[in-house]
């Protein structure tokens, strides 16, 4: 029994409609996701970008005898409530270290109080009308201005909003990631090589494989508990240190690196292995000279993505004490330190209005680093991708 084209196209119309509908639904989902992303970024940028600028006041500092006892004496009286307490506090110290300065004066840009900063940015603040008038006058004279925020990128955390910076968290993150990478990368890659290239396929290795896959899905806070119990309590690694945090995150990153390395090794065609065995390579030579070079882009990409994931992790670090108030930029792997997501978490809990933009600014810095890392992973893969 045969059908005419008309009959068939009648029937096909329904099927085409169905696929068109599916196409629109999936495009809608994509559009929605894109919209959320745009909203998220717009919000972060609008809140965070102002954090990269800070109010400064250009004024004369008089290094007098009185100022060496009380820093406030160095400034005009009506400026005192507007200048950051940190600047005021530094002056007596400065004079004690350099007594020859006494009697001189200096004109320079001083960090303003966060209230001034918030007023200039049009946010809620606690300034009196008189103080506002004072600021307006000096703005008109070019003595008060928003300038690039050196403090945010150049110093550590502070309870004084205008003095709080992200540098200690960035350094803490870098040190923690170094520890994580040094531990997780070699162990992860060697484990994957053993499982993929050397291990016999038996119950034992299958059990290991299942467990590794399960580890990747374990809530990260449990790794924090493990780190606390084993590294800090049992081995006595200093609490809050990049060493403790890095080791804990290494536990979390290991399964990611193992799984991605195994995938990369598995994608190397067997014909290459056979060729190498055929010319008399030992198993290790096959892996080292032929399989690993081909798998390297995949391994690196997986490791970088695992690292980026660890970099954004907060929960396990709360447990090992890395959510701490760290005003100083970290000096060693065993000193107390904090990391970027933990810093963001700390700032988000501060009541002052000025910390809202710090929080958003911190998120921008973290996002920038994460996106750069991921982009680097993509570039790496493209660069070393080889056909065979």
């Amino acid at each position: 029994m045969s059908h005419t084209f008309d009959e068939i196209s009648q029937q096909l119309k329904r099927r085409h409609r169905k696929s068109a509908r599916l196409k629109w639904v999936s495009m809608g989902a994509l559009g929605l996701a894109g919209l959320f992303l745009v909203l998220f970024f717009a919000d972060m940028l609008s809140k965070g970008l102002p954090a990269f600028q800070q109010a400064y006041i250009n004024t004369e500092i008089r290094y007098s005898e009185e100022a060496s006892r009380d820093g406030r004496q160095a400034f005009d009286e009506d400026l005192i409530p507007l200048i950051s307490r940190t600047e005021v506090r530094v002056i007596p110290l400065q004079l004690r270290n350099n007594p020859e300065l006494i009697g001189t004066s200096e004109q320079r840009w001083m960090l303003a109080n966060s209230e001034v900063d918030q007023y200039l940015k049009g946010h809620r603040n606690r300034l009196s009308d008189q103080e506002k008038a004072e600021i307006e006058e000096r703005v008109a004279a070019g003595q008060v201005d928003l300038r690039f925020n050196k403090t945010f990128f150049g110093s550590g955390d502070s309870k004084i909003a205008e003095n709080a910076g992200i540098l200690s968290a960035v350094v803490g993150t870098v040190m923690t990631m170094i520890v994580t990478l040094l531990i997780a990368f070699p162990i992860g890659v060697m484990t994957a090589i053993y499982l993929e290239e050397f291990a016999p396929d038996n119950r034992f290795t299958q059990a290991i494989e299942i467990n590794i896959n399960n580890l990747a899905a374990i809530p990260s806070i449990l790794f924090g508990l493990l780190g606390l119990a084993i590294f800090i309590n049992f081995f006595g690694v200093p609490r809050s240190s990049p060493l403790a945090g890095g080791m804990t995150l290494a536990l979390m990153t290991l399964p990611v690196i193992i799984i991605s390395t195994r995938t990369a090794l598995r994608s190397v065609p067997d014909s290459i292995r056979h060729a190498a065995f055929g010319v008399g390579c030992s198993r290790w030579q096959v892996v080292r000279d032929h399989v690993l070079p081909l798998a390297m882009p995949g391994i690196m990409t997986g490791s970088i993505i695992g690292l980026a994931q660890a970099m954004g992790e907060t929960a396990p670090l709360i447990i090992v004490g890395m959510v701490a108030f760290i005003p100083d930029v970290g000096a060693s792997f065993t000193n107390a330190a904090t990391v970027m997501p933990a810093q963001i978490f700390t700032w988000s809990g501060e009541p002052e209005q000025a910390f809202v933009e710090k929080t958003a600014g911190g998120i921008l810095v973290l996002l920038t680093i994460l996106i750069s890392l991921n982009a680097f992973a993509v570039v790496l893969r493209k660069k070393f991708e080889r056909r065979w």
Binding site: R273, A275, A276, F277, G278, V279, H290
Partner: protein, 279 residues
């Protein structure tokens, strides 16, 4: 009968048929002796009591329908089957008076003397030069750069590839055409100066012209090497092989001088197969 012809032990060779008396110039020194070789993939027996003598500086073709065990047998000769965990082998494969399956035999040493060329050309994803130089360097056959260059040139000349690639030795081996890649793989195999070269359907992925080139090459290479080749192509076996073994369901049905085998097969199955009645 020519005195050089080894007398096969007829007791061990129940179904092999009348062993050959071929051209008297051909060398009949024994290269590999196989006795009562059995092989299982898990519980499936793939090779059943094989007995065969492979002769030096001859081309031996293994023919037979798909799944008859000829490639599996070929891989027994350099223990490539070791890579498959489920494989279990019994029996004797003897080379130079030594059992290649013995525990003291290092498979790396064996593969150094028994090279292999695969069905699909599989050059390393490295330069043409490095494809050849890698194995000799690994086996410490060369130390100086000049020796290495010389060895690369010789291997490529022997494989008939030198003139085509001498100006682009640093280009990737994978940039060559299929037939050139296969000759590169042959050059790679002969660069370590093996005694035996195993070829697993070396031309099945190639066009007729490349196939003819490889066949000519095999003819030349047998002056230096013992060649064992698996082929699906009976004309190819007839063209290149001095001896031919016909495999069927894991057994050697007949093994004989190629001319004899193709003109007057001793077994009905052989005749059916080579006349194209099945397979």
């Amino acid at each position: 009968m020519n005195s050089h012809v080894p007398v096969m032990n007829q007791q061990n060779l129940p179904d092999v048929g009348q062993p050959y008396t071929r051209n008297e110039k051909a060398c009949h020194d024994l290269s590999i002796r196989v006795r009562d070789l059995n092989l299982w993939y898990g519980k499936t027996q793939a090779l059943k009591g094989l007995n065969i003598d492979l002769f030096q500086k001859n081309v031996t073709a293994l023919i037979g329908p798909s799944g008859c065990g000829k490639s599996t047998f070929l891989r027994c000769l350099n223990r490539m089957n070791d890579l498959i965990p489920s494989v279990h082998t019994e029996g004797l494969v003897e080379m130079d008076g030594q059992d290649v399956n013995a525990s003291k035999m290092d498979e790396v040493a064996l593969r150094r003397r028994v090279g292999m060329v695969f069905q699909k050309p599989n050059p390393f994803p490295k330069s043409i030069y490095e494809n050849i130089a890698y194995a000799p360097r690994m086996h410490d056959l060369v130390s100086r750069k000049a020796d290495q260059d010389e060895l690369v040139e010789k291997a490529l000349r022997d494989a008939g590839l030198w003139n085509e690639v001498k100006d682009k030795l640093q280009e990737p081996g994978t940039s060559l055409s299929g037939g050139q890649q296969q000759r590169l793989c042959i050059a790679r195999a002969i660069a370590v100066q093996p005694d035996v070269i195993l070829m697993d359907e070396p031309t099945s992925a190639l066009d007729p012209i490349s196939t003819a080139t490889i066949e000519d090459l095999m003819d030349k290479l047998k002056e230096q090497f013992t060649i064992v080749t698996v082929t699906h192509n009976m004309q190819q076996a007839a063209r290149v092989a001095d001896y031919t073994a016909f495999f069927h369901l894991g057994e050697i049905i007949e093994y004989n001088d190629t001319k004899v085998m193709f003109s007057t097969p001793a077994q009905k199955k052989t005749e059916d197969y080579i006349s194209g009645r099945y397979g």
